[in-house]
């Protein structure tokens, strides 16, 4: 991009540090050993006469190596277990999730009302869908027909779909390059 032919070798047309941030990003590629051999040699020849680029490369390489010390932390052993439990919970029908949350929250003043409410909900469920209440799904893969009453799930799905739609539109022209 910023090279000019001089005999058999290519030289930089101008100092990359003065050629704007986008061109200067090539200096970063050089420092991280990601630049192709030919532009890398051109840059090395330029550095022989440019103290600013030399200082840049030296400090950038130091930073690049120092960042290796920022190690990540070990992951909790129960991470997958927690995730699959949440997927299972979301796959269950909404009344089952309400039941589980209420049952897990300990004794409360409204606790005696739980069985009554559950019977009423079950009766309502059977009245609306006579067959669907017979076997509550626990496998996430069964969650293909989310309960239409669950507004939270609908909101989340709409939000997710919007994110994917934006992503697909943004990607469309370059999709082959990335695959």
């Amino acid at each position: 991009m910023f090279e000019v032919n001089r005999g058999n070798t290519k030289e930089l047309r101008e100092c990359p540090l003065r050629a704007g941030e986008e061109n200067a990003a090539q200096l970063l590629d050089y420092c991280h050993h990601k630049l192709a051999p030919e532009p890398a040699s051109a840059f090395e020849r330029h550095m022989e006469h440019c103290p600013a680029c030399r200082a840049f490369a030296e400090s950038q390489m130091a930073v690049w190596n120092a960042l290796d010390e920022f190690e990540a932390m070990p992951i909790s052993e129960d991470f997958d277990q927690r995730l699959f439990a949440r997927l299972d919970e979301q796959a269950a029908p909404w009344w089952s999730r309400v039941w589980n949350r209420m049952a897990a929250s300990g004794p409360r003043i409204w606790r005696p009302a739980i069985p009554v409410a559950a019977v009423l909900l079950l009766a309502a469920g059977l009245w609306i869908h006579p067959f669907s209440a017979s076997a509550p799904p626990t496998d996430p893969s069964i969650a293909k027909n989310p309960d239409h009453i669950d507004t939270e799930q609908v909101e989340r799905t709409l939000e997710d779909m919007e994110m994917i739609r934006q992503f697909t539109v943004a990607d469309a022209p370059n999709s082959n390059r990335d695959m």
Binding site: L28, Q60, A66, A72, P74, F79, S141, D160, I164, S175
Partner: protein, 189 residues
């Protein structure tokens, strides 16, 4: 290239109801996603919670998944979105004070060598804290760009898609971020 194709293939199988394929994708990408989020928010418990949300969203979005882009780019777009939202909600600032104990604890777990002297350990911890603070001090979009560039080794085009901006904008973000980091960390050479 083969593994990239396999990611998309696996996700298509997840779309068709195969939960085993989801487990493979999770095993393959759980580490990079959590590590990215940890370096973004600098708190392991928050990073894991956000990562749970990322994979829940991936699973919930399976029905509409189309392999128009590399799977990891899509995954990191969701992860970045989650991290930036968390930071913009102001939770990052609220958690700053409670960062140190957890990070310190993590650091001691990361350095198992018994031969290091107390002095060496102190120097290493000081360097670690300095690097961590320099990263934390970057504006959030610059921070995300640097983390994807340095630790995930993502191309400019992939980072651009994850951050929903142009490649030239990514180059500018990276240039400015590394400029700040050079100012703060070059002496660590």
């Amino acid at each position: 290239m083969a593994s990239l194709e396999r990611d998309a293939e696996l996700m298509l199988r997840v779309r068709d109801g195969c939960t085993a394929s989801f487990a493979i994708l999770l095993a393959r990408h759980r580490g990079p996603v959590i590590h990215f989020l940890y370096r973004m928010v600098q708190r392991q418990s928050v990073a894991e919670e956000l990562a749970q949300e990322v994979f829940l969203r991936v699973y919930r979005s399976r029905a509409t998944y189309e392999p128009t882009a590399k799977f990891t780019t899509w995954l990191f777009r969701i992860a970045t979105h989650m991290a930036l939202n968390w930071i913009r909600d102001g939770k990052y600032e609220k958690n700053q004070e409670s960062l140190d104990p957890e990070v310190g604890e993590g650091l001691s777990r990361q350095i198992p060598d018994r031969e290091a002297t107390v002095e060496q350990k102190m120097i290493r911890e000081a360097r670690f804290a300095e690097i961590r603070q320099a990263i934390a001090g970057l504006p959030e979009k610059q921070r995300a760009a640097v983390l994807m560039h340095k630790y995930q080794e993502m191309e400019y085009s992939q980072i651009a898609r994850a951050l929903d901006c142009s490649e030239s904008a990514v180059k500018s973000l990276l240039f400015r971020a590394y400029e700040t980091l050079r100012g703060r960390l070059a002496h660590l050479a």
